[in-house]
């Protein structure tokens, strides 16, 4: 598997002098995967901000109008609660708009938010295609496929991640089962389901956008009104994914972050382990320390 790329450096592969000065890197992410990964950040931000501005015009979660204020929007209630209970927010000029002023482009701008949402949505769909092309060209798609035993392994990894801070505080050794794949089961579950959620978000978006011409699609999600609920909660899935995603990447360190920017990782042991597995050898199941490589 070891190939030497830069031609002007091309030594004999047996050359020991260069093997000593050379560094082994694993090509983890295709350039199109890296590009589309990062483009998701501004695009999803734009979609969420404009999406909540669109939500403002007709909130999914409503109640009977309050006899005093006339308010019927649960999001406005939350804003009112925040302004009443959160220190420093007591003098906020328009409590019902708090959520919309902090989590959207703003209230009362439906036309603009719709245009903004379409712009981001078309770019998001294009970006999704770029991602799929990158997965195929870089042959990374197989690493994302769920496999038998993933559910239990994902649970073990979840327990492991939860335990890291306590293990560090107690200076105890804390290990997880060694895996010989690109991702551990929990990562695989996340990196498989988030693109899937992106696809379903787009599908529910079309179901809401064209409920008559694409009536089969709206029916698939239980009709126009139900498709709106799907679309709304899929947004939260992205937000909930982002938090542990960012924490874990930073906890894991520079090599992992670099691999999604530069594409290369200098952690090569796991890919060799896969090679061993292919050749029929069982990879050793060793405990690793909490500080050891995982991402």
């Amino acid at each position: 598997m070891i190939a030497l790329i830069p031609p002007h450096h091309e030594p004999e592969s047996t050359s020991t002098s260069l093997a000593q000065s050379g560094v082994l890197v694993v090509k983890r992410h295709h350039v199109l995967v890296r590009l589309s990964h990062w483009l998701n950040l501004p695009l999803l931000l734009g979609l969420i901000l404009s999406g909540i501005s669109i939500y403002w015009a007709s909130p999914i979660y409503q109640h009977r109008p309050d006899p005093n204020t006339g308010n019927f929007d649960v999001a406005a209630d939350i804003g009112i609660w925040i302004c009443a209970h959160v220190p420093g927010q007591h003098h906020y000029p328009s409590p019902p708009d708090w959520i919309y002023n902090h989590m959207s482009l703003g209230p009362g701008m439906l036309a603009l938010a719709l245009r903004f949402h379409w712009l981001c949505a078309y770019l998001f769909m294009l970006n999704g295609m770029v991602y799929v092309v990158g997965l195929v060209m870089g042959r990374g798609w197989r690493s994302l496929l769920p496999r038998r035993g993933d559910l239990l392994d994902a649970f073990r990894m979840f327990r492991y991640y939860l335990g890291i801070p306590f293990a560090k505080l107690a200076r105890r050794e804390w290990s997880h089962r060694r895996f010989n794949t690109k991702y551990n089961a929990l990562q695989r579950a996340a990196y498989f389901s988030v693109p899937l959620a992106g696809f379903v978000s787009v599908a529910t978006g079309w179901a809401i956008h064209k409920p008559m011409q694409l009536q089969w699609l709206a029916a698939l999600f239980g009709g126009f009104d139900a498709a709106r609920v799907w679309h709304f909660w899929l947004m939260w899935l992205f937000i909930f994914f982002l938090v542990p995603h960012v924490i874990l990447v930073f906890a894991d360190g520079w090599d992992t972050l670099r691999s999604i920017i530069v594409g290369w990782s200098t952690k090569v042991d796991r890919s060799e382990a896969i090679a061993n597995e292919e050749s029929g050898e069982e990879a050793p199941r060793l405990p690793c320390r909490a500080t050891a490589s995982d991402n």
């Binding site: 000065s21 007709s58 703003g106 712009l119 197989r142 409920p211 008559m212 920017i261 090679a275």
Partner: protein
Amino acid sequence: MKNQEKKRQGFLAERPLPTIEIAPRILHYRTRRDLLLFGAGAAAAVAGAGLLLPQTTLARIGVRRNINARGKEWLLDKALRIDDDVAEALYSPDRRVPTYAKSQTTPIKNNYNGATPDPGYIPGWNLTLEGLASGLSISLDIRKLRNRFPIHEQVTRLVCVEGWSAIAWWAGLRFDDLLRAYPPKSQAKWARVESSVNLDASGNPDPYFVSIDLSTARHPQTLLVTHLNSHPLAVEHGAPLRLLVPVKLGLKNVKAVTRITYSAEEPGDYWAQFGYSSYDGI
């Protein structure tokens, strides 16, 4: 059989990641280059956001400077035009919208944007047709409309641009029948459907008008409605005649239609003036 299973698994099985050996300085060079590119991309994204975000949003995050980019409106309008083209491509004159049972109807709210007009206009109401092949201007009262044309019933969903929807039981004549009885001039592609009784929020006259392409007007479920839930339309639902065009957003469903003008060129549209789509196909 077992062999086949193994082969399929083999196709889906994870492959080892490609490993290469490089000089450390190549790794450093690549890292530096890509970080610089990444930084440039991040800066471009921030600048793009600064150019695209509405001024009120920017002001809230502390950007006081007035960024009035001409490209902003152009880009957002471009996205809207592309979306309209997609909507037009998706439209099929033969595709019916889903219909419901009468028991499935839901309350439909009065979504008059301004004040609801005083019902005083109803007795003197009539519908004027212009841009006809005959060159005449035709005026029809509600009795003539109801007696002359077959009445069709349908229970369909009205979808508002705001996001709410309502299922209602409507009855009225087909727009297509009106078009056949009073054909528009041959080059006509559009109808401007207008209500002169529309009011703004403070109760002043604010004529409401939308553009409807004739392909949509000829759709068998596009009606000129006289009844809702078997009762004549109430004033808040556009008595005595409203446009019902279920393949378009609610805002195209003009209440209290007073005039229909056919034209070759696309006529103006009330909500398009405020940055909404003028096609509005759903």
